[in-house]
Every structure is written in structure tokens, then in C-alpha cells.
């Protein structure tokens, strides 16, 4: 998002934030940090800029450094812009037993990028992630909030086709 736009949660999101803070005992509003960062990442362009983190610090009445150190620790928080769709393919042992590596190379070839990169049109980012508790339906990947399980090359084609069509 362009940096001139002022950073402020939509009123609906803000009331959600207030509701989340109320879940924790008085004086422990910092507990809301992870859930609120999830909301912030979703609302402000899919990643956490320094401005967004400072804004969250202000809302929770904590120091910006307390937000930075958390945002850099957890893999679900992104500190840089990503493609429109982030394909997170599981690369841990059990998925690899079921052919995850072949899925990864196929996607790399199909999208013309390596793991960790974004397509030039800004559509797809491809990431390798660790076990997502879906080893019985391996290989698998997560796209946004959705788990795509029992992957095959055909299913990958289908998913990519649908995502392209949706945008």
C-alpha cells in the first residue's frame, strides 16, 4: 500500500481489536499482540511495514520494539510485500515421503520462479514451509487460509488455473 495513506483500522476491525483485548486480564493487553498482528497483516496489504507495527504498538500501548521482536520471530508474519497469492508448500519429512519435492519442482517450473520468489506479474509467491499438521493428506500446501491437500500435478494445474481466473 502507498505510504501516504494513513494507517488506521476500519471501524469493524477496530471493534474486533477491542473485543480481542478484552479477552485478557486488565493490564495484559499485550497478549492481544499476535491476534492483532494477524488482523493488521490482512488489512494493510499482506505484510507488516514499520508504520503498521508502530500503529499496533500504539493501540496496545507497548513499545514498538516489542512488536518488532515478535513480528520477526513468527513465520506467519511477513515483513515485505508478497505476491497476490502466497503458495506455501510443506517441505517437511512426511510430506517429502509422499512426493512434496516433485510438487515443488513442478511449481517452480510452471511459475518460472524458485522457492522464496515472486512472479514478475506479482501474482504468486512460492514458499517452502514446515509441517502444517496435514501429513495424512500429503503432499499439501496452504494458500491464504485454505489447505490444499492430497496434491498431484493435475491438482496443482487446477489450483493455479482457478487462482488466475479469480483475479
Amino acid at each position: 500500500m502507498p505510504s501516504e495513506v494513513s494507517i488506521e483500522f476500519k471501524p469493524e476491525t477496530m471493534s474486533k481489536v477491542t473485543e480481542i483485548i478484552a479477552r485478557y486480564p486488565d493490564g495484559f493487553q499485550k497478549s492481544a499482540l499476535l491476534p492483532v498482528l494477524h488482523l493488521a497483516q490482512k488489512e494493510f496489504g499482506g505484510y507488516l511495514s514499520t508504520e503498521v507495527m508502530d500503529y499496533v504498538a500504539k493501540i496496545l500501548n507497548i513499545q514498538p520494539i516489542e512488536v518488532y521482536e515478535v513480528a520477526t520471530f513468527y513465520t506467519m508474519f511477513r515483513l515485505k510485500p508478497t505476491g497476490k497469492y502466497v503458495l506455501e508448500i510443506c517441505q517437511t519429512g512426511p510430506c517429502c515421503l509422499m512426493g512434496a519435492e516433485a510438487m515443488m519442482s513442478y511449481l517452480e517450473e510452471k511459475l518460472g520462479i524458485k522457492l522464496g520468489e515472486t512472479t514478475p506479474d506479482g501474482m504468486f509467491t512460492l514458499l517452502g514451509v514446515e509441517c502444517l499438521a496435514s501429513c495424512g493428506t500429503a503432499p499439501m500446501m496452504q494458500v491464504g487460509e485454505t489447505y490444499c491437500e492430497n496434491l498431484s500435478l493435475e491438482r496443482l494445474d487446477e489450483i493455479i488455473r482457478r487462482l488466475k481466473k479469480a483475479s
Binding site: F73, Y74, M76, G93, L97, C131, C135, T137, E149
Partner: protein, 443 residues
């Protein structure tokens, strides 16, 4: 006794047999409050809050012999009785739904298909422990399950099982879902508490234990999803009845998530004591090895427990049939045994490259180390590097012993047991498959 189990088959779960404790009635679509209650759901809340004291509930859980299902298998009733009740501070119950141990995917299905069983377990357990605010810490990637849980919690509020003065008993409590954000280490209970407080997931130095200084500095119990979901049955039927299921000190039923090269990957509720061979080959369970191949090895309790070759997973070194129980899987210690751990049962066929698989896990542990303790932060990195070198034909003979040496220097020398968990899979792979590692040297 045959218990119910449940097989994942693509998106369309196929159900095979009937009923017992954790997955009871799953075939009847008990996702909704109405269906769940119709089939006896929430009876344990009625029973406990109307007719039992908190100590009575703890006593039943003690009698049941239930042991923590998150991996460490500590007796749940004993853990509860350690909770400091005299400090005058609030007490907390936190459910560990972080489920990130590779090979483990049981809690996820329990929460997704039967959210009310966990909620019911949390209400009764909170009553027993005196927790008025309880939290379910769920890994962030399972966002859609968190939403389902929240909707189910709202139903429980609407029907008077949560909130003020539950069932007129005078006991009040709130239950919340808390989203993590992707960090395996947050499954470790003190890292989980740090994370719940809005910090990095760095495990805490113990003592003090969570039972005295836990969440917000207050006495806290952390239990796994499956442990808490076992409590309603124990309260309804009595601890003694539960203790009669299973074998020896491995009482009750256990969810096993089976994956890898088998015909029927899925989540099964088994009675403790089922022979491993039956679990692996019976068409009622894993259904044998895929594509008619032969078995090579199994990691029976999630990626952190020692790998066992075919001969040692089916039978102990002494020749006894290996059973699905804490004791039987441990028989032989680290030399020839393993652990039941979290119940993540990973099966590998004859085509599996043990060196590649071991390198893969070393990469996982290196990535997930929180970095607080030098032996773990550096050790996991070295292990990954040495294994990478071996895998790419650049290893030296002494590298194989170096691997074992590094794991020894991590074991027991870190704040939490991640350092042990990262080393065991590697040390055991070298112990049982040394020749495969050596084969990479000549390439």
C-alpha cells in the same frame, strides 16, 4: 476390544467402525451443538457442576491413569494436583492446540470434527482447577478451525455452559481461542505461555514450574487437546472404568495419526496395547505398505522420537511383540526402543532414503530452534550442514561420528527439551542405519 477409528480419504472422510471415547459418535455429524448434546454431550458438565466438588473431579482423573497426550505422557491427575491453590492468585487452564510436531495431525481433526468435546473437557477441567479464564492456544495456520471453535464456544455460551453462574452452580468462566503465528517451539508449554503473553516463543527456565508461576505469573496448567477431550468420558464413567481400558500404565485410548507409505493414512482411535503389527498391516487400520512394497522403518511418535527399523518396530530386541503403549514402545531404551510421543506414526517403505529423510528433519529443527541456548542454536545448524555435506557426496568417515557427538553435546544441555528432540532422530538413524550413511561416503 475394537474401538472406533476414522480414516481420511481425500476430502471425503470414510468411516469404518464404531465408537468409543474421543471420536465417539463422529459418524453422526456431531459438529453442531444440537447433535452433540442429543448424544450425551455436556453430560459431564451437568454431573460435575451439580454433584461433584473440584477435588472429586481431580480424584477421578487421577484414578483414570490418564497421561498427557501432547508427547511427554505426564500423568494428568498428578499435574493437576501440583497446581498451587494457596497463592491467592487467579489460576489458569491453557489448552495446547499448537500441534506442530511433524507427523502429528490428530488434535486438528478432533477440533475440526467434534469441537464440543474439547470445549466440554475444558469446562469440566477449568471447574476442577478453579480457572475462570481459560484459553485454547491454536497454531495460526489452522485459522479456519479457530473460527469453528469460536462459533462452537458461542453455542456453549448460548446454552448456559459458559459464562456467569454456569447451571446455577455458582461457577463462572470464560473460554477464548488464541491464535499463534507459526513457530514449532510454541508447542513447548512455557514458550506457549510466553507467546500467549504476546512475546517471542522463548521457553522459560524451570523451576519455577507453570504450576506455581505460569501465565501472567499465576499458577497454570497446560494440557494437550486430546488429554482434555478425554476428561468428559472419565467424569461420566468414572476414573476406574477408564483405567481398565488399555494395558498396564498405558490406560485408555489414544489417537494415532498415521502417515507415510501406507494404504490408509488417517487418524485412528486405538485402545492402548494394540500390537504394532496389527495396527500396521490390518485393513482396519493402516492396511499395510503402499504399492505392495516392504516396510523399512517407522517413527512411531512424531519426528522427535527415535526411528526404528522394521525388525525393532514389530518386535522388541528381546523378541516380544511390540505394542502401541508407552511402555512397550520404550522397551530397550535408546538402544533398541523408541517412544509413543504424540502418536504421529510415520511409515517408510524400502525405497526411502534414510539419509535424505534425516537431513530433512535436521533442516526442520535448525529452522525451528528459538536460538536462546547455544548448544541447540549452533548444534542444529551443524547437524544440518554435516548431513547436507554427506548427502551431496562430500562427507568424510568421521562426519558420521561427528553427528552423534553433536547430538550428545545438545542433549540435556538446553533450557527446554527441544535440544534432545532435535538430536534423537539423528542419533537413532545413525545407530540403526549406519551403513546407509557410509554408502554416501564412496559416492
Amino acid at each position: 476390544m475394537r474401538l472406533q477409528f476414522y480414516v481420511l480419504s481425500d476430502y471425503n472422510p470414510k468411516l469404518i467402525m464404531t465408537t468409543h471415547i474421543l471420536l465417539k459418535d463422529i459418524e453422526n455429524d456431531i459438529f453442531s451443538f444440537q447433535e452433540y448434546q442429543l448424544r450425551g454431550g455436556y453430560a459431564s458438565v451437568e454431573k460435575a457442576l451439580r454433584g461433584m466438588s473440584p477435588d472429586d473431579v481431580i480424584e477421578e482423573v487421577k484414578k483414570s491413569g490418564l497421561r498427557g497426550r501432547g508427547g511427554a505422557s505426564f500423568p494428568t491427575g498428578m499435574k493437576w494436583s501440583f497446581l498451587d491453590r494457596k497463592s491467592g492468585k487467579p489460576r489458569y487452564l491453557v489448552c495446547n492446540a499448537d500441534e506442530s510436531e511433524p507427523g502429528t495431525f490428530k488434535d486438528r481433526y478432533l477440533m475440526e470434527m467434534i469441537p464440543h468435546r474439547l470445549i466440554e473437557g475444558m469446562i469440566v477441567s477449568s471447574y476442577a482447577l478453579g480457572s475462570h479464564k481459560s484459553y485454547i492456544y491454536i497454531r495460526g495456520e489452522l485459522m479456519w478451525i479457530a473460527k469453528k471453535l469460536e462459533a462452537a464456544i458461542q453455542e456453549a455460551y448460548q446454552h448456559g455452559y459458559l459464562g456467569e453462574n454456569i447451571l446455577g452452580s455458582g461457577f463462572s468462566m470464560d473460554l477464548y481461542v488464541h491464535l499463534g503465528a507459526g513457530a514449532y517451539i510454541c508447542g513447548e508449554e512455557t514458550a506457549l505461555l510466553e507467546s500467549l503473553e504476546g512475546k517471542r516463543g522463548n521457553p522459560r527456565l524451570k523451576p519455577p514450574f507453570s504450576a506455581t508461576v505460569g501465565l501472567y505469573g499465576c499458577p497454570t496448567v497446560v494440557n494437550n487437546v486430546e488429554s482434555l477431550a478425554s476428561v468428559p468420558w472419565i467424569v461420566n464413567n468414572g476414573g476406574e472404568a477408564y483405567s481398565k481400558i488399555g494395558i498396564g500404565r498405558s490406560t485408555g485410548t489414544k489417537l494415532i495419526s498415521a502417515c507415510g507409505h501406507i494404504n490408509n493414512p488417517g487418524v485412528y482411535e486405538i485402545e492402548m496395547g494394540l500390537p504394532v503389527e496389527e495396527f500396521l498391516y490390518s485393513s482396519d487400520y493402516c492396511g499395510g505398505i503402499k504399492d505392495g512394497k516392504a516396510l523399512k522403518a517407522v517413527i512411531p511418535g512424531g519426528s522427535s522420537v527415535p526411528i526404528l527399523p522394521k525388525e525393532l518396530i514389530l518386535r522388541t530386541a528381546a523378541g516380544a511383540p511390540r505394542l502401541m503403549s508407552y511402555e512397550s514402545l520404550m522397551e530397550g531404551g535408546f538402544e533398541t526402543g523408541s517412544m509413543l510421543g504424540s502418536g504421529g506414526f510415520i511409515v517408510m517403505d524400502e525405497s526411502t532414503c534414510i539419509v535424505r529423510n534425516t537431513w530433512n528433519f535436521s533442516r526442520f529443527y535448525h529452522h525451528e530452534s528459538c536460538g536462546q541456548c547455544s548448544p541447540c542454536r549452533e548444534g542444529t545448524g551443524w547437524l544440518e550442514k554435516v548431513l547436507h555435506r554427506l548427502l551431496h557426496g562430500q562427507g568424510k568417515q568421521k562426519d558420521i561420528d561427528l553427528l552423534v557427538d553433536i547430538t550428545k553435546k545438545m542433549e540435556g544441555k538446553t533450557i527446554c527439551s527441544f535440544g534432545d528432540a532435535a538430536g534423537w532422530p539423528i542419533a537413532s538413524a545413525v545407530r540403526h542405519f549406519r551403513r546407509e550413511f557410509e554408502a554416501f561416503l564412496t559416492k
